[in-house]
């Protein structure tokens, strides 16, 4: 569902551009709003969320899918935790559909999907691994890195049970905005994948904005 935001960008207290292949790691307090902008279009932002006060509680794709009885995320979707609590609500979305079934790229899954000899190409999971090594203060370990949201990614499921990766329905300047229901730790990998159309074969920057 397309829903535009009324928030003014100049009033955001945080505005950070995240290059492709880099990560964003930060806290959005309860009641605050975070926007992720697809600056150049066709870019996947692989995102994980945690309860900032207890990271063992985290975004759960299964709980979110089960509670809304639907696969795709858009304005009106309540993101749920693994304890089935409300985590964030998508309050604005100019893209219209985001994926949470396709997961993130990893060097290991790249060997299966593309070629054994692509095992050393940069991947979202490596960005997350670097993030948790560089930020021990957030106390995340490998087991905390789990099924994510792919903002701006289009992964349609057909009625006969096929999973397809389609060209992005995103475009330059499209954004998604979420309001935090609890203090939330945000970990985004701006996807470096060069082997499929999720980034239009040319990964580009995204922007993160946060309003009080």
């Amino acid at each position: 569902m397309i829903k535009e935001s009324v928030l003014k960008t100049e009033l955001a207290h945080t505005a950070e551009t995240v290059s492709a292949g880099d990560y964003y790691f930060g806290i959005v307090k309860a009641g605050e709003t975070i926007r992720i902008v697809d600056l150049k279009g066709n870019q996947a932002a692989d995102t994980l969320f945690y309860n900032a006060n207890d990271v063992s509680e985290r975004y759960s794709a299964m709980d979110t899918i089960r509670e809304q009885g639907a696969l795709y995320l858009t304005a009106g979707t309540m993101l749920k935790t693994n304890l089935n609590n409300d985590l964030l609500e998508i309050v604005a979305d100019t893209c219209g559909r985001h994926d949470t079934v396709g997961g993130a790229c990893a060097t290991e899954s790249n060997t299966v999907r593309y070629d054994l000899e692509k095992r050393c190409m940069h991947a979202c999971r490596d960005s997350w691994m670097l993030a948790i090594q560089e930020h021990p203060e957030y106390k995340l370990n490998k087991e905390d890195i789990t099924h994510n949201i792919n903002f701006f990614m289009n992964v349609p499921v057909t009625s006969d049970g096929k999973l397809t990766f389609e060209d992005g329905i995103s475009a330059p300047g499209k954004y998604v905005e979420l309001q935090a229901k609890m203090d939330t730790l945000v970990l985004i990998s701006n996807c470096p994948q060069l082997n499929n159309p999720c980034n239009g074969y040319d990964p580009t920057p995204v922007e993160v904005l946060i309003w009080s």
Partner: protein
């Protein structure tokens, strides 16, 4: 296959082990490479939640997104392989009479079961208690020092969940008595399972549905194996397993 004469712990002979997991229950066991596991819905309408871990490196676990996307499928059935987050294959689905098993809906929590069927109360219900899938997995995981954070998306065998164009999901079909799936294990695997209701079930009475479990020795993998040759991705997955076992 001869039918077991006892409900529990029926060791048919030294090559075949057969048992029954009652409904509303949970269990876990180590399954070795080269073993075949047949699961059978005994009464119809079953759901079998299942998780897979590398027993020697417990943070390597079944990864539903990697499994689905590398085989371009939303449903799991014969020919598919179940992948870990490290690009390896835990097991291959070598036989399946049902045709569509789902892996994105997770489990019911105690709150869902209470709302739909009533409160879990061992004191009065004993073995008829209304157990839920989430707590079942928590209990089994703790036996291996695994925590709630270690619970990723599971397979729900015998539950077909389909999507319409807008992504709305429905539990569109469940198995009938006698439906079965056979898994061939491609590496040593810790298997964790529960027989609690599927989280999207709409039935009025708590479905208490047992599953028959049969372990036996798998045949050698033939050159034209339907799982290995299902897609180039699976051939590469088997190559990753070969590297993992290199030198053994």
């Amino acid at each position: 296959m001869t039918q077991p004469t006892k409900t529990y712990h029926t060791l048919v002979n030294d090559k075949v082990y057969q048992t029954t997991i009652p409904g509303a229950s949970h269990w876990s066991t180590m399954v070795r490479k080269g073993t075949q596991l047949q699961i059978k819905d005994m009464n119809g309408g079953a759901n079998l939640g299942m998780l897979f871990f590398n027993p020697y490196q417990l943070d390597e676990k079944y990864n539903a997104p990697d499994t689905l996307k590398c085989q371009h499928t939303f449903k799991l059935t014969k020919g598919h392989c179940l992948y870990s987050d490290m690009g390896r294959i835990f097991c291959s689905i070598i036989d399946d009479s049902f045709g569509w098993h789902e892996s994105v809906c997770g489990n019911s929590h105690a709150s869902h079961i209470e709302k739909q069927f009533g409160k879990r109360d061992y004191q009065t219900q004993q073995n008829q208690w209304l157990q839920n899938g989430y707590d079942s997995f928590l209990v089994e995981l703790a036996k291996y020092s695994l925590k709630a954070q270690d619970m990723a998306a599971n397979v729900n065998w015998f539950s077909q969940v389909s999507s319409n164009e807008e992504g709305k999901l429905s539990l569109s079909r469940q198995s009938e008595a006698g439906d079965q799936v056979t898994l061939r294990f491609e590496m040593d695997t810790l298997v964790v399972m529960h027989t609690c209701p599927h989280p999207l079930t709409q039935v009025n009475e708590y479905p208490k549905t047992p599953i028959e479990i049969t372990f036996s020795q798998a045949d050698a993998i033939p050159l034209n194996d339907p799982c290995m040759n299902h897609c180039p991705e699976n051939q590469r997955g088997f190559e990753n397993n070969a590297l993992y076992h290199f030198g053994l």
